[in-house]
Symmetry: C2
Subunit: 299 residues, 2 copies
C-alpha cells in the first residue's frame, strides 16, 4: 500500500547491519457499516496491532502499529529513544505477528536502559506517544547543517505527497511521513500513529549504507508539528520539516532554538513558514501558478 | 476559549471531592510566519506545555498539554490509567505552571502504583499516548448500559460541535472532545492530544456530585476511534462514541466485543455506524434534509 522500498537485507557487503525479518500482515481490514441512509456498506479500515518489543529478552514497550514495516519501526524506536546509539549496536530484529512480538538482539547489550526508560514523558504526538526525558536533554547539543529548500522544491514535495498511493486513500485514519532529498522522494511510510511513521523512517535511514545523514534531507509529515516531531527530526539531523497540518507552541520554540525550518499548512500552493525562514528560498511568483488540481483538470 | 464550565470546587456539601487548584495559562501563542507570497503574517498557535505529575511526591509521568483544565486532566489521567479507583482516593490536585508540575495528594496512598506503571503500552492515540497494560485486561469485565441514540440526536451533536467556539477555530492543531446526554452538551474540552481531552472529561465526570455515570451519555471526539479511545469511553461507562474521523481495526474489534456503538466520519448529514447499530435509531429520511451549511446560506 505504500511506496516504501523493500526492506534492506543484511548482505556480505554490509555485514554490520542488523539482520531484519520481513514480517508481513494485512494493512487494512474490511468491515460492514451502516450509513446515514440506513444502507449497509463495506469499508476498509486500517489495521492496528500491538507489537511488544523485547531487547535481549527484556520487555521494553508495546507499540500499537499499522504493521507496514515493523522491523524498521522497532529499529527507529530504539534510535529515537536513544536506547541504541548506533545501528551497529543491534544484531537482529525478528518480528513474529503470530505472537505480536519483536525480538531484538544487541551486540553487547544496551547501556543504561533502566535509567533511560525510567523517566516517561507522554507526548502530544499521534501514535507512539512516549519519549524519555533524556531525549529533551539532548536538544541543546544538536547542530543542524545549513541546508535550504526552494519554494519550487517545496511545491514538488507537496505534489508528490498528493499523488502518493496510500493506505490513507484506501482506508483513512493513518498518518504518512516521507523523507525527501530536495523534491526527490527517498522513502514513505504510514502508520496509525505518526510517531511510528517517523521512527520507521529513522530506522530506514540507519539501514542505508553508511547510515544516511539527514543534513540535506527534508522530512514531511501529514501530522502536526509538535515538540516531539521537531525534536525527532532534529535528532535525525534533518533541518527542514514540512507538514500539511499546523504547529504547537513548544514545537515552534524548539524549532526556533535549533534553527530548524518548520513549514506548515502546506497544501497546493499555500504554506506558512514558522521558523528559520532563511532556509526557505522564496519564489513568490510561483504562488500565483494554478494549483495541481487545476493543471490536471480537463480543459 | 472553550465551553467547559468553571471547575467544580470543593464545598461543604461535597467535602469528599478533591480540592483542585485553578491554574490558568494562555491557550494560544501569537507567532509571525512567512506565507507563500513572501508576506509576513501573525498567526495564533496552540500552547503545548509539559506537566509533570507527582503523586504523594512520587513522579509518575510528564504530560504534554494545552493546559486548559490541568487539574481535571490529572484527575482523569489517574482515573483512566486505573491509578485511582475512586475520586475519593484523591485529596487534592495543585497545579503550578511556574514549575509545570501537578502535585497530587492521596487519601492513604495509591495501591500497586509500581506494578501499574511498570507495563507500558505506547498507543495509537494522539496526545497522551501511554496506557498501562492492566487497562486492556479489564475490558472483558465492562458491561455497558443498553442506551440508544436517534439519528436526529446524532445530527444535533454534530451540529453543536460544528458551532462550538474553540481554540481549534482560532489556532488549529488541537483535538476536541465533548460529553453529551442525548444531544445536550454537558462539557467540552480541547487539548493538543485527544487523549488528554478524554481524560479531562473523565476527571470532570468524577467531580460531578455522586460521580456522574456514563450509561446515558455520548462521547464525541474529533480524533480517530482507536482501541484506546474506545477502551477509555467504555471505562467511563459511555456506550456510544461519535467521531468526525474514522476507526482502526482494534478499535473496531473492541467496540464489537463490548457492544459499544461507534459512529465515525460524522459531518453534516453523513456518518457511518461501525458497531452495535442496534443502539442507533435510524431515521433515514433525515439524511435527505439539507446540511446546516446549506440552511444557513443566503437564499
Amino acid at each position: 500500500m505504500t511506496a516504501i522500498p523493500d526492506l534492506p537485507r543484511r548482505t556480505p557487503d554490509d555485514a554490520a547491519l542488523p539482520a531484519l525479518s520481513n514480517a508481513r500482515a494485512p494493512l487494512t481490514h474490511a468491515v460492514e457499516v451502516v450509513n446515514e441512509r440506513g444502507e449497509h456498506e463495506h469499508l476498509h479500515i486500517p489495521a492496528e496491532r500491538p507489537l511488544t518489543v523485547y531487547v535481549d529478552k527484556r520487555e521494553i514497550v508495546t507499540l500499537m502499529t499499522l504493521g507496514a514495516q515493523p522491523e524498521l519501526l522497532v529499529l527507529g524506536y530504539l534510535r529515537n529513544q536513544r536506547l541504541a546509539r548506533s545501528v551497529h549496536d543491534i544484531a537482529s530484529i525478528t518480528v513474529d505477528w503470530e505472537v505480536n512480538a519483536a525480538a531484538v538482539t544487541t551486540r553487547g547489550g544496551i547501556d543504561h536502559i533502566e535509567q533511560r526508560t525510567a523517566h516517561k514523558v507522554v507526548t502530544t504526538g499521534c501514535g507512539q506517544g512516549s519519549v524519555f526525558g533524556s531525549l529533551m536533554d539532548e536538544v541543546d547539543r544538536i547542530l543542524l547543517a545549513p541546508a535550504q529548500l526552494t519554494q519550487a522544491q517545496l511545491y514538488g514535495i507537496v505534489n508528490a505527497m498528493r499523488l502518493m498511493e496510500s493506505t490513507y486513500k484506501s482506508a483513512g485514519s493513518v498518518h504518512g511521513c516521507a523523507l525527501f532529498r530536495g523534491e526527490e522522494l527517498l522513502t514513505f511510510v504510514e502508520d496509525v500513529g505518526r510517531h511510528n511513521a517517523i521512527d520507521t523512517i529513522a530506522g530506514w535511514m540507519w539501514m542505508q549504507p553508511g547510515a544516511m545523514e539527514g543534513g540535506d534531507k527534508v522530512f514531511y509529515t501529514t501530522g502536526r508539528l509538535t515538540s516531539e516531531m521537531v525534536i525527532k527530526s532534529a535528532q535525525m539531523g534533518v533541518p527542514i520539516v514540512v507538514s500539511r497540518s499546523g504547529m504547537t507552541q513548544m514545537g515552534h520554540a524548539v524549532a526556533q532554538q535549533l534553527g530548524l525550518c518548520a513549514i506548515g499548512r502546506a497544501t497546493n500552493r499555500r504554506f506558512v513558514c514558522y521558523s528559520a525562514p532563511e532556509r526557505l528560498v522564496l519564489q513568490p511568483e510561483l504562488a500565483q501558478a494554478p494549483p495541481p488540481e487545476a493543471r490536471t483538470a480537463p480543459l
